[in-house]
C-alpha cells in the first residue's frame, strides 16, 4: 500500500531529489554500488510536517527518505547540499540601451524581450520557482527566501536581473554561515547599497548644508538586527520602572550609524579606473574612499563611541560588531525565522531556546545560523504529529502555496505562470512595496492578539487569486510553454496517478497524506466526498480534480499547521 503510493506519486524530479540527498548532498564523487534500500517505513505526520516547514513542499519521495534517515540526519544532509544559484545573468548598465526597451505594443519583439530578460526580474522570479521545485538544497532555499524578507531589497528599485540574482545568491551562500558574515555581506552588497542608499553615501558638506543619508543606518537596526525595543531572550519586551518598553536607540544613534556608513561606492566596472563615485555596478562588494568618510566620532548602541579619524573600514567593523553583539539580535532574528519556517505564534519558551542557540551554538560561537535553523526545526514545539496550540502554524505565503501544491502533487513548472500569478496573491517575488517586506512580523488578526504576518496580504482580492490559481492549474490544465522563453515547459499537474488510486475514498486518503499530513477531519472529508460523487463519471479525472481543487483552495490546507 505504502510502496504503491510512493511509486504513483514520485515524479522524476522527486526521485532525483532523493538520489541526490542520499548521495551526500549531490556533491559527486564515485559512489559505491548501491545496496538495496531497506523497506521504507511509513512517513509519519511529523515527517510530513517537518518537510512542510523545511522545504518548498513535501514530496512523497522526500517523506520516505526522511522517515528512513531521521530528521537530524536529513537536516545535516540538507545543510551540506551544494547551494542553488541564480545563473545565467551578467552585468548590464543601469540605463538600458535603446535596443533593450520594453514596447507595450510589441511585447514579443527583440527589444521587449531583451528588456524583460535583463531589466526586469522575470527570469530571477522564474528561477525561484524552478529551483524550489527541482533542486535538492530545499532547506537552504527556504532559509534564503526567509532572509530575503528580513534583509529586504525590492525589484521596484533593483530591476536589473543580474543585480537581484547576485543578491539572492549571496543570501543562499550565507544562509548557514555566521550572522556576522551575513550582516557584513548585506551591508557591503551593492544591491543593498543601492536600495537603502549606503552606496555613494557621502560625508557632510557644510557648504551645501547636506548631511549623511540616514536610510541604511536606521533600517539596518530596525529591520535587520535589533528592532525598536530592548528584548528579553524570550522575545518579550524589557520594561522600565514605569512599565514602558525601552527604546533600543534614539535619533542620535541613527545619525551615528549613518555617519559610519559613509564613504562607500560601487566596485569599478571592468577595466575602468576606480573613482568617487563609481557608476552603479552590482558585481562585487562596495569599496571605501576614506576621503568621503565622515571624519568625526560617532555615537552607536548603548553608548559605544567610535573615535574620530578612523577609516571607513575600521568604523564599519566596530559598528557591525556593535550590532552583532547586541542581545536583541538573537530573539529578534530567531523569532522571525521561526515565523517564516514554523509558526506565527511561537511561545516565549520556544523563542528563548532558539535565542540561546544563537547566543552560543554549544561550542561558544555566537550567530551560527545552521545551529539556529536546526534548533528551530527540531524544537519540541515544532515537532510531533499534531500541534498543541490553537494559534500554531502560519498561512502559507503565496510563493510557498504555489510550490507546495506543485511539489506535493508531482507537478512541474518553468516558473512563468507562478511568477505572473503570485503577484495577484500579494507577493510579487523579490518586489515588496517597501523595505518593510510584503507583511510585517507584528501583524495581528483583527480584533485579536494572534500574530499572523502572512494575513497582512490575505484579503478578498488575494484569497480569490489563490483559488483562481488552483482553478487554472487543476481545473483548466495549467499553462502551455511560452514560446519566448528558452526551454519553457509551461506549468502542469498530472492527476492521472491520483485518479488511478481507486475510488473517491482512496483519492481523499492520498491527498490527506500528501497535502494535509493526515489531519483532514471527517467533516471536511465528507464535504469533499459529496462533491466528488456529484461529478461526471465519464471523465476519469473529474473526481481527482474536484478533490484537489477543494483541498488546495481550503483554509484547512492554506494554513499550515
Amino acid at each position: 500500500m505504502r510502496a504503491r503510493f510512493v511509486g504513483r506519486f514520485a515524479s522524476g524530479v522527486a526521485l532525483l531529489i532523493t538520489a541526490a540527498a542520499c548521495g551526500g548532498g549531490g556533491s559527486g564523487g564515485s559512489a559505491p554500488p548501491p545496496t538495496p534500500p531497506p523497506p521504507p517505513a511509513a512517513p509519519s505526520a511529523d515527517t510530513q510536517r517537518l518537510l512542510e516547514q523545511a522545504t518548498f513542499g513535501a514530496t512523497s519521495a522526500d517523506a520516505v527518505h526522511v522517515q528512513n534517515v531521521g530528521i537530524a540526519a536529513y537536516l545535516t544532509e540538507q545543510m551540506a547540499a551544494s547551494p542553488s544559484q541564480y545563473s545565467g545573468f551578467t552585468y548590464t548598465p543601469h540605463t538600458a540601451p535603446s535596443n533593450c526597451q520594453y514596447h507595450a505594443a510589441t511585447p514579443t519583439d527583440a527589444s521587449s524581450i531583451c528588456a524583460r530578460d535583463q531589466y526586469s526580474l522575470f527570469h530571477v522570479q522564474r528561477q525561484l520557482f524552478m529551483n524550489a521545485l527541482n533542486h535538492p538544497d530545499q532547506l537552504r532555499q527556504r532559509v534564503a527566501f526567509a532572509l530575503s524578507q528580513i534583509f529586504v531589497v525590492s525589484g521596484i528599485e533593483i530591476y536589473e536581473a543580474y543585480g537581484m540574482a547576485d543578491y539572492q545568491n549571496m543570501l543562499l551562500n550565507d544562509a548557514f554561515g555566521n550572522f556576522r558574515t551575513l550582516l557584513e555581506d548585506v551591508t557591503l552588497s551593492p544591491v543593498m547599497g543601492r536600495y537603502l542608499d549606503m552606496a555613494t553615501n557621502d560625508k557632510t558638506d557644510a557648504a551645501l548644508g547636506t548631511s549623511p543619508n540616514e536610510n541604511y543606518g536606521r533600517e539596518v537596526l530596525q529591520l535587520c538586527s535589533i528592532g525598536l525595543y530592548e528584548l528579553n531572550p524570550d522575545g518579550s519586551q524589557k520594561l522600565d520602572g514605569s512599565g514602558a518598553p525601552i527604546p533600543t536607540y534614539d535619533q542620535s544613534v541613527v545619525i551615528g550609524f549613518s555617519a559610519v556608513f559613509t564613504g562607500w561606492t560601487y566596485a569599478p566596472l571592468a577595466g575602468a579606473a576606480s573613482k568617487w563615485a563609481n557608476p552603479i555596478n552590482y558585481d562585487g562588494a562596495m569599496l571605501a574612499f576614506d576621503t568621503h568618510h565622515e571624519p568625526g566620532s560617532k555615537t552607536l548602541l548603548d553608548g559605544l563611541t567610535v573615535p574620530a579619524g578612523q577609516s571607513a573600514a575600521q568604523d564599519l567593523k566596530m559598528a557591525l560588531d556593535d550590532i552583532f553583539n547586541h542581545p536583541n539580535v538573537a530573539p529578534f532574528i530567531g523569532k522571525q525565522l521561526i515565523q517564516h519556517l514554523v509558526t506565527s505564534n511561537p511561545s516565549p519558551a520556544y523563542i528563548a531556546r532558539v535565542s540561546a542557540v544563537f547566543a552560543d551554538n554549544g561550542s561558544g560561537v555566537r550567530g551560527d545560523m545552521a545551529a539556529v535553523v536546526k534548533a528551530i526545526l527540531t524544537d519540541p514545539e515544532a515537532r510531533g504529529d499534531t500541534p498543541a496550540q490553537s494559534n500554531f502554524g502560519h498561512l502559507r505565503e503565496p510563493a510557498l502555496f504555489i510550490t507546495g501544491m506543485l511539489r506535493s502533487l508531482g507537478g512541474q513548472s518553468d516558473g512563468v505562470l507562478p511568477r505572473a500569478l503570485v503577484s495577484g496573491m500579494g507577493q510579487p517575488i523579490y518586489t515588496p512595496p517597501s523595505v518593510f517586506n510584503f507583511y510585517p512580523p507584528s501583524f495581528v488578526l483583527p480584533g485579536s492578539q494572534t500574530l499572523a504576518p502572512e494575513f497582512a496580504i490575505d484579503n478578498a482580492s488575494t484569497a480569490l487569486a489563490r483559488a483562481n490559481f488552483v482553478n487554472t492549474v487543476i481545473m483548466q490544465g495549467g499553462a502551455s510553454p511560452d514560446p519566448t522563453v528558452t526551454g519553457s515547459t509551461g506549468t502542469t499537474i498530472n492527476l492521472t496517478a491520483l485518479a488511478a488510486a481507486g475510488d473517491s475514498n482512496a483519492i481523499i486518503a492520498q491527498l490527506n497524506q500528501s497535502l494535509m499530513h493526515g489531519s483532514l477531519t471527517s467533516a471536511a472529508s465528507a464535504v469533499i466526498l459529496a462533491a466528488m460523487n456529484a461529478q461526471s463519471t465519464t471523465d476519469p479525472l473529474a473526481a481527482a480534480r474536484t478533490a484537489s481543487y477543494l483541498l488546495l483552495t481550503s483554509a484547512q490546507y492554506q494554513v499550515e499547521r
Partner: protein, 447 residues
Amino acid sequence: MKRRKFLFHAGALAGTAALGQLGVFAARAAPADDYKALVCIFLAGGNDTNNTIVPIDSAGYTNYAQVRGPLALPQAQLLPLQESGGVLRFGFHPGLQGLQNLWAAGNLAVVANVGTLVQPLTKAQYQSSSTPKPATLFSHIDQQHEWQTSISNVSSSTGWGGRLADQFNALNVNAMVPPMISTGGNNLFVTGAASQALVIPTSGSFGLSGFSNSSGDAARRSALASLLSVDRVADLTMAAQDVMSGALSSSATLNPILTATNTTVTQHFTGLTTGFANQLLAIAKVIEAHSALGAKRQVFLASLGSFDTHTNELATQQTLFAQLDPALAAFHGAMTAIGAGSNVTSFTLSDFSRTLAPNTGGGSDHAWGSHHMVIGGAVHGGQVYGVMPTLALGGPDDAGGQGRWIPTIAVDQYAATLATWFGADAAALTTVLPNLSAFSPSSLSFI
C-alpha cells in the same frame, strides 16, 4: 437579525465577542438620502511636504531656497495659491496643477503641520524627558500606525477609520458590502473592532473562476462554501475561512459594478492609466452605486507608495505627483458629476514629512509634522488651516537640527474634524479618538 446579515456580508469575524463590540454604534436619526464617504489617500513612505506646499513670496522663498539647497524647487515653477483677501503666501509643487484648480474653486484646503502627538508639545517640552511624546518617532511603520490609529502612546489594533465606521453600523444595516473598502491592501486605518476592510481589485473581474452551470460544478462550488464552516477550531484557519467568506459574498455583489465600463464616473478617468487612478476609479464606481448597495456611510482607502525619497527626491516626487494629481482631480470631478461632490471628502495621510535639510544623496530623511490636503465639495477650501512651521534648522519648530517639525495640530484634531463631518457626535468621538480631549480645539474648521 439585520445585524447578523450585515456581519455576514462584511465577512466580519463571527462570534459573541465580535457581536458585543459591534453593539456600540451611534443611534442617530438620518434622512433617507443621507450618504457620506471619507476617502483616505495614503502616501506611503513619507511625502516631503516641505516641497508640496512652498513659500512663494520673496522673503519666504529666499529663506526656503537657502535652507533646502539642492532640493529647492524653482520659484517660477510654483503654482500660486491665492488666499482670501488676495493674500499670496504659498505655491504648490509644479506637479499639482489639478489640485491648484481645486484650491482655486474652493474645494481643497491645506492643513499645516499635522502630526502624531500624545499631547500638545512645545520645543522645550520635547527636549525635556518628562513630557509624553509619540512612541518611535521617525520609524516608518510605527508612524504609519500612529497616523492610522490616531493613538501615539500605545499600540492599537484598530484604526480611526475602522472605529469611525463601527459607529455607523446601525445606519449601514442594509448595506450589501462592508462599510470599509480598500484598494490599497489591508491597512490598519480601515480595521475596526471586529472587521477589516474589503480589499477590492482595481482591474479584472472580482470572483471565483472556473464554475459553469453544470451540476458537478454546482456541487464543487457548494462544497467550497461548506468547507468554510467546518473545522472552526484553529485561529488562523478560521481567519482564512472568514476572509474567503467575505470575498465570496462581496465579490458577487461588486463584480458587476467594478467591471462596468461606461458609467458617469468612468468618463472622468478617460486617459488615466496609472494604478493609482485605477484605485480611485474603483472607489468612484462603488460610490456611484451606493444607493443600490444600501450604503449610508463608507470609509475608503487608496494608497500610493514610494514617497521614501532618501535619494533622487526631485525626480521621484515629480513622478509620483504626476500619478496623484490627475487622479485626485478626476475623482472629484466624477463625484461632482454624480451629485455626490459634497457627500464625499478625500484627505491625505502619510508616515511623516521629511527633513528640511537635504542629505548628501539628493534626498531627505524621516521627519515628523507634515501638511495635508482635504478635498471635496463640503470643504472650506482655498485656505491654509493652522500655522506653517518656521523653516529654520534648529528653529522654534525644529525637534533637532535638520528640520523635523514638531506638529502644531494633532492627528486627533484632523481626524475629529473629518469624523464630525461624517456624523460622529461627541460620544462617538470619544470612542473613535480616545486621546482627543488632550487637544483644543477638538475640531478645526476646514470642513
